[in-house]
Symmetry: none
Subunit: 208 residues, 4 copies
DNA sequence: AATGAATGAGGTTTCATTCAT
DNA sequence: CATGAATGAAACCTCATTCAT
């Protein structure tokens, strides 16, 4: 069993695989990501995205129908990257608790290593764009995570909490922790991340 | 001891007291809040704010220097409202765990009862505005919350986690839960809110 | 009986009376009319219309929703002017043939005296805008003209031709004649206009 | 005597013979014709013309110097087609009136059978392109038609009207009638077309 | 204090045209 | 010959802000 669904099984809703991205499309994505982190969606004109990507303004419109479409596709692009990172880190052989902690830490590390992705996602889901997301961010997480959690509940390891609640709660803890690491001076070591993960674990596991 | 600081003690950084708000200023605030929830900052022009508030476009500029200033002041206005709600709910006489649960639930209820405030805050802190916030949102929470948490750690009730981490984690859990209630079909009763709060509690308390 | 309908009876479809036009709206209309004659719809950017009208580019958008809306309203504005001119010239007391000739000549004179209006109308009806005209130009003419023509047919003065055909045919002759006067060196005197009108008359009357 | 000039005698001004048109050039012409009818000159980008013609955007520029050149050449192409149709229909052996009626009806039928050509021509002559037409449309008609009309006047059959006026008037009646057939519900039979032509004839002939 | 017409900088987007392949 | 990605000037339009009333 995969902790996360395999891409070809449930990747419905992820627009565009990242494999066959042209160099130019990727440059536009990265340029946007960079600028949005600093200036936000509104503060980032297409002209600046173009210049920063090293292409002409009009070129963007060969690859994306509009600024909105660019933002939406970029969101899918980032989710794909995130899923790839998590699939790599996951290990079905691990014992449940260890697998959970490993998952939590990998997830958090992805955001720590891709701060622009984190800030983009957070801006996205908390803006009107978020409501247009075909599969909502938190719901998506919950989908990915559901099977794993359900098996935990069924085997009596986890508290019987509604999956619609448990997924987002865990995701929230990951995002919050990554943000603290990125915004504050506290630099969290992998060991400290593990401690935070264990706090969450203590919260959701059934106390023996 | 106050769980939250008393307004007149630490309200530095909150621009504008809410007591002597003119009717018109309040109307502008509420109009903005309403529109930003649906359309976001960018999608909400001043003209629309004005119309929705029943005033002329120019009038807004008697009360606020600019659109940015309006947004920033509105942020302070909302934080004041939130603080007032929490001060009312808090009860110094309660036993520690109960006081924590009560606090968590009250906080969550504030967001549930003021969805526009929740979405405004979340948009605000995840946008470039957020970085201009003199006292950052999560930090603010942590400030408000610090004394209470510290006493919990000192008396051996809570795990010795860095307050810079614990505050945001708890706040994150509250926000996430409120969002789920507001966005999803699951309607959480006070009882269910309590269960979520207890999950958090189980995470942060020292297991006996 | 009016040769043309009285404005308040059948003016449905005429968007906006011209009476209460602000000075600025009128300036925008006249500016557009002037520029469209020389450069066509496509060759006339809003910026030029604005400059030529002595207003800022944005000002146009207080009065018109879009460039298309401006063109459509301008069309209505011109039709109103034309109708006013024809109502003034018409005289119910005249004998049928004389009234027809008088009408034909007045109509032609309107175009000769308002060449910008003529070229605007001709461009309009022969462009995709034309199909959006709620009441088509030729149909409109036919409506205006119908009662008069019908009475001519009923009293045995005119050939029994379908009104859908007769109206446009006459209108076409008027437009063509006005264009020749405006584009070519032949300057047609009122007397010569009358001769052309009589050719048309000879065509449609029942030969005794 | 030809009613219309023979192509090789007076076809000066018609850019591009239609005989040796490559398949590709013809495809571009037809594609343009089709799109301009629906969207107008402005609403028809080169990219769309290319796609609709089944060629690449750049390919058009092997055949035409610019969009303007394409439009201008297409105009000549259509006029050639029209002339060919009229030459086929004309019959020098006919008696004058019959020949006129035959001509009028053939002309009208060409437009009815080639609605895209009609709308293109009408758009063309009523746009800034029209003024660039080396031989103006109405003037061209008058040239084609002149000899025939002059002989009619000289033999006392037609009223002595200036040819600059008579030609356009007749052409206007043809265009108007064809448009009514195409745009309105009245479907005119050949017989009815003949009736309209006779109205025109009654107008221009000398009444006995 | 209140208005809202007017401004114009600057945003998004289109599209005729070019050119390396 | 043919392609179509790339260009960038210029179009349309928005909207924060001002100011005469």
């Amino acid at each position: 069993m995969y902790l996360l669904c395999k891409p070809n099984e449930r990747s419905i809703g992820l627009r565009g695989r990242m494999d066959n991205l042209t160099e130019k499309k990727k440059a536009i994505f990265e340029s946007t990501l960079e600028l949005v982190k600093v200036n936000g969606f509104h503060g980032t004109p297409m002209s600046q995205i173009a210049k920063n990507a090293g292409v002409a303004a009009g070129t963007i419109y060969h690859y994306f129908e509009s600024k909105d479409a660019l933002i939406m596709e970029l969101y899918g692009y980032i989710l794909n990257q995130r899923m790839a990172a998590l699939l790599t880190a996951d290990n079905e052989q691990m014992e449940f608790k260890e697998r959970f902690l490993n998952f939590w830490i990998s997830y958090c590390n992805f955001y720590i290593q891709h701060p622009k992705a984190l800030f983009f996602i957070e801006q996205f889901v908390n803006s009107p764009y978020g409501t247009r997301d075909p599969v909502n961010e938190t719901e998506r997480f919950q989908n990915e995570f559901k099977d794993f959690v359900i098996s935990g509940i069924e085997t009596g390891i986890l508290k019987p909490i509604d999956g619609y609640l448990l997924g987002p709660l865990i995701h929230g803890s990951i995002v919050t922790t990554a943000k603290i690491h990125l915004c504050r001076k506290i630099e969290l070591t992998t060991n400290e991340l593990r401690q935070v993960a264990e706090v969450i674990w203590d919260g959701i596991k059934i106390s023996s």
